[in-house]
Amino acid sequence: MVPPMDDLYRLAPELVFCGFGMLVMLLEPFVSAARKKWLSVPALAGAVLGLAATALPAAHPGAAYYGLLRIDTFSIFLHLIVGAVAVLVVLSSADYLEREKLPPGEFYALVLFATAGMGIMASAQELMTGFVGLEISSIASYVLAGYRRDSPRSNEAAMKYFLLGSFATAFFLYGIAMAYGATGTTNLESLRTAVAQGHAGGLLTLGLGLMLVGLAFKVATAPFQVWTPDVYEGAPAPVTALLASGPKAAAFALLMRILFVGFTASSGAWFWVVWISAALTMFAGNLAALVQTNVKRMLAYSSIAHAGYILVAIAAVGTMPDDAQSVAGIAAVLFYLATYVLMKFGAFTMVSQLGGPGERRLEINDYAGLSQEQPWAAACLSLYLLSLLGLPVTAGFLGKFYVFKAAVNSNLLWLVILMAANSVVAAYYYLRVIVVMYMREPQQEWTPQPVPRGVALVLLLTAAGTLYLGLFPGKVMQLAIQSALSLR
């Protein structure tokens, strides 16, 4: 019954995350209220070690736990992303929790558990395992979204997220059930052969459709994006940063595994779903973001739009899933995820920092004259925004570049044009924030919040990462390509 040692190595990051999560939980009762903030130390240690532990599975690639997991470069890549997100969340939230007087112990534990769930999603090679991982991260997210109990908005975010998330989960599960019913297996490798034999018919297709519904909900693509703005707005800012980055990346990982491993053969069917969804998502995100006045909400819409861009790359793979060319598309998705996480996390952290106590300053107009009051903050936020906008020298540009490249490679001319049009629309609202920060005079007195060290470090890391990936994408892209190759 005891699994082989190698399997444990392959599970090392999750073990570390869960272990430290429990450790934080256990320590919590023994720490006096005044010292609760020091709980961030073990939490940070957990996150960092968990991230570092990625080295172990990296050294032991292969299937684990009876094929339920598959450790390959793909999963390593995503582990790096979600691990990094965990580190960033812990760093950025320490002072936030203290400021908002929220219990830190449970928070860290939930973050670490959720990260473990995401890790599972990244390596799951079987649907049910993936589902459990998804649920771990989701349920933790529901709680985190409502973590500010005294805030009606936070409550509401939690409720909406929970209800709709569970709704979507049901669809996902039903999809698994149908796939299982049609083929008798939930293992993606086996599914692949079953699908390739083509005897599955409507049941399997419908199953795929329902699974797509569930995952599309998690990655917030149209028309399932509706929850995103509300939840992102209502959730505590560090949680929003988390929600927008980690779970999304993990859900995309699961989605990719299902589509590219399990359902390659039926790409002709799902290609159009992805295509239409990509188009809808880009427009839904960007057009609605145009008219937002709340920064957090605007960023939420923007992350919807970004999910749409990622779908473009997935659609690009969908035109030729078996072709070697598709590697470029998968790599583009992965690279995009990396860049997206960096810039989005940075942006949300900055918003959280600028929001001040109780997150009161969230309107775009509150940022008027920020460049004079806090030049570095303004510069930093501008960097993220420009990166989100896709301007060269930032990571966002290269992310978009690779997506464009994949789409052009697959001859998705219309999708490319739609994406191009969307980039321009997006430019408007990103620039509008910069306008307010740099080109308007301050409207009210405001005392700049001191930037806590953790937040400062997060900002530094994300900004540096954004620039690094913008200038020298080579190494990360190399890894992304290997990941893509490892998927097949």
């Binding site: 409720m159 909406k160 209800l163 709709l164 709704f167 979507a168 669809f171 018919g201 409507g202 297709t205 419908l206 795929l208 459709g209 329902l210 797509l212 519904v213 599309a216 909900f217 149209a222 028309p223 399932f224 509706v226 929850w227 703005p229 509300d230 039926s266 002709g268 069917a269 799902w270 159009w272 779903v273 239409i276 969804s277 427009f283 839904a284 960007n286 057009l287 609605a288 973001a289 145009l290 008219v291 937002q292 629309v425 408007y428």
Partner: protein
């Protein structure tokens, strides 16, 4: 051979003067300004004289004398050098420009002595001299164009010299812009020449003209004519010249009488090789000239501003020059150019002297009886008037007669028009003289302190008066017993390869015609000279009758012919017509259609419209975000339905 070798020195002298005055002259005392401003022109004149000396020793084979200095523009197959050339035509022009120019500069030291911006004035004048010299010495069309535009610029600057007066600034602008319209034609001519000949140098163009299709040559010639019309203020682009009188009087004399406005005539003469091969263009030149000569003379009849009369007179005289060129008598045209430079400069300077004496008054209705007060001015002006009116023996007589003869040879109609014009010329010039100098003073003796001009103004007047009187004898035709040295001198420059071609193979009929003409001439020529003299005399007599004998006549005539009088007084309403037909519609369309409708409305409107639609869409989308969880669930169902339908449909 100094000047021939260093041809550039002639234009460079005034340029140096202009540069010094322009950059540093602001703080100089007047004497130093005079020294530089007049000195540079004097040196240029001296150099021109030396050039004549050297040129006269040049073997005929070396004419035109060409000097290439540096490549100015080169690109692709195109190449324009900074190259100067000298031939007989250039010599004539050089002497006129530097000589008359020098006199006017000297005159200006007196006339402008009390004006603000004195150094600026001389800087511009010197600059003008530079460009004018460049124009007449250029060895290719591009450099000619440089001078052409350059003189236009200086004209602009000098017309607007009194820039505080809006009318002056307007006039300057108008001059430049109307000239630009002409230049548009000139520019197109250059383009067409280059396309046809592959070069813009004079030599290859003129020598290569013979073989080219006539239509092309006609087109080139007509386009050049457009340029010439603009510069020389011919119909229909003459409108700027009367307004140009807003400039200081020496400017009017130099630029708008003697030199610049004659550039069009010079250019036509220079390009005679092209014109001669394009008879239609020649005819156009002649018609434009004749009509303008008559037309502007009629306007001159009723003008009351002393300078305006002279301005219309200038337009009219330029018309004669065009007529001369148009009927093939290029030498006569150039001859008239020269004599006109003398007497018109004289008239303007004298008029300036009058104005100076009257303390700035230009309206002849408020003058009169000045003969005794300013005798020098009166006598010199009389010489000029006699010259322009065509009194026998005066310079204008010979040159105008040459043109009339040539015109008669081609077309009776043109001849008659020109003759009528000559009669009108005589009338309005004597009218000017009588109104100004004769009769009773019509000004307030106490307010105006009439005084004779200083020596530096009078001496140029005297010199020019002498030239106006005797200048014609240089080209007195053979039947007067003279040898018409002028025409012979110019012959090499104004004979073209094409004409040489004709001369070598004269058909028998042509020779016969020439011979019969020779026999007939003596008689006819005398008769025609008599007719011209009679015309001038009639003009004089009518003027005498109107303004000396019966001074009330003009008013009566004006009343009985009210409509025509008004028409003339208002210059045929041409300015108003242009304003109504061109200026207003253009500004209106530009403002209300192009700017407001097309730019702000259509283009910006559609761009902003797209943005607006996007925002509207965004707002719609935003409202789907009702905050109601049930709606969100409905959206999930929408998505589920969409996905499953798409998938199932695709699988089938």
């Amino acid at each position: 051979m100094f000047v021939l070798d260093y041809l550039w020195i002639i234009p460079a002298l005034p340029l140096a003067g202009a540069a010094m005055l322009g950059l540093a002259g602001r703080h100089w005392p007047a004497r130093r300004v005079n020294a530089v401003g007049v000195g540079s022109v004097a040196l240029a004149f001296a150099a021109a004289l030396e050039l004549v000396r050297e040129f006269s020793r040049l073997p005929a084979a070396q004419v035109p004398w060409l000097k290439t200095y540096f490549t100015w523009i080169t690109a692709g197959s195109f190449r324009a050098d900074f190259a100067l050339q000298v031939d007989q035509l250039t010599i004539v022009m050089l002497l006129v420009v530097t000589g008359v120019g020098l006199l006017i500069h000297i005159y200006s030291t007196g006339y402008m002595a009390h004006e603000g911006g004195y150094p600026r004035f001389f800087a511009c004048m010197n600059l003008f001299m530079f460009f004018m010299l460049l124009l007449v010495m250029a060895a290719n069309f591009v450099l000619l164009f440089v001078g052409w535009e350059g003189v236009g610029l200086c004209s602009y600057l000098l017309i607007g010299f009194y820039f505080l007066r809006k009318s002056a600034a307007d006039a300057g602008k108008k001059a430049f812009i109307v000239n630009r319209i002409g230049d548009f034609g000139f520019m197109l001519a250059l383009l067409l020449i280059f396309r046809t000949f592959g070069s813009l140098d004079f030599a290859p163009v003129f020598s290569g003209a013979a073989g080219k299709p006539q239509a092309t040559l006609t087109a080139i010639a007509l386009l050049l004519l457009v340029g010439a019309i603009g510069k020389s203020a011919q119909l229909p682009l003459y409108v700027w010249l009367p307004d140009a009188m807003e400039g200081p009087t020496p400017v009017s004399a130099l630029i708008h009488a003697a030199t610049m406005v004659a550039a069009g005539v010079y250019m036509v003469a220079r390009a005679h090789a092209l014109y001669e091969l394009a008879p239609a263009a020649m005819a156009a030149v002649a018609v434009v000239g004749a009509v303008t000569a008559f037309y502007s003379a009629t306007i001159g009849l009723v003008q009351t501003d002393i300078k305006k009369v002279l301005a219309y007179s200038t337009i009219s005289q330029l018309g004669y020059m065009f007529l001369g060129c148009g009927v093939g008598a290029f030498a006569a045209g150039i001859f008239h150019l020269m004599t006109h430079a003398f007497f018109k400069a004289l008239l303007f300077l004298a008029a300036g002297s009058v104005i100076h004496a009257m303390g700035g008054e230009q309206d002849m209705r408020r003058m009169g009886g000045l003969r005794k007060r300013i005798p020098w001015t009166y006598w010199t002006m009389l010489m000029g008037t006699l010259a322009i009116a065509g009194a026998p023996g005066f310079s204008g007589f010979f040159s105008k007669d040459a043109i009339l003869l040539a015109a008669a040879d081609k077309s009776v109609v043109l001849y008659v028009i020109a003759l009528l014009g000559a009669m009108l010329t005589s009338f309005y010039m004597f009218r000017l003289l009588f109104l100004t100098f004769h009769g009773e003073p019509r000004f307030d003796e106490h307010a105006v302190h009439v005084h004779e001009s200083p020596k530096n103004m009078v001496i140029p007047l005297a010199v020019l008066a002498v030239l106006s009187v005797v200048g014609g004898w240089a080209a007195a035709p053979e039947f007067w017993g003279s040898s018409n040295r002028f025409e012979h001198f110019l012959a090499p420059a104004l004979s073209s390869p094409s004409r040489a071609f004709l001369a070598i193979n004269p058909g028998p009929s042509l020779t016969a015609a020439v011979n019969t003409f020779r026999e007939m001439t003596q008689q006819i020529l005398w008769e025609m000279a008599g007719i011209a003299i009679a015309a001038a005399a009639i003009g004089f007599l009518v003027a005498w009758w109107f303004y000396i004998r019966r001074p009330q006549t003009p008013e009566r005539v004006a009343e009985s012919f009210h409509a025509p009088y008004k028409l003339l007084l208002n210059k045929y309403y041409v300015d108003e017509l242009y304003d109504f037909l061109l200026v207003r519609p253009t500004t209106w369309i530009s403002t209300h259609i192009l700017w407001q409708v097309v730019d702000d409305g259509a283009i910006d409107g559609s761009v902003n419209g797209i943005a607006h639609v996007a925002r509207r869409f965004g707002d719609r989308l935003r409202h789907t975000q009702s905050g109601n969880t049930r709606s969100y669930a409905a959206w999930v169902l929408v998505g589920a339905a969409l996905f499953t339908i798409l998938l199932l449909w695709k699988v089938r």
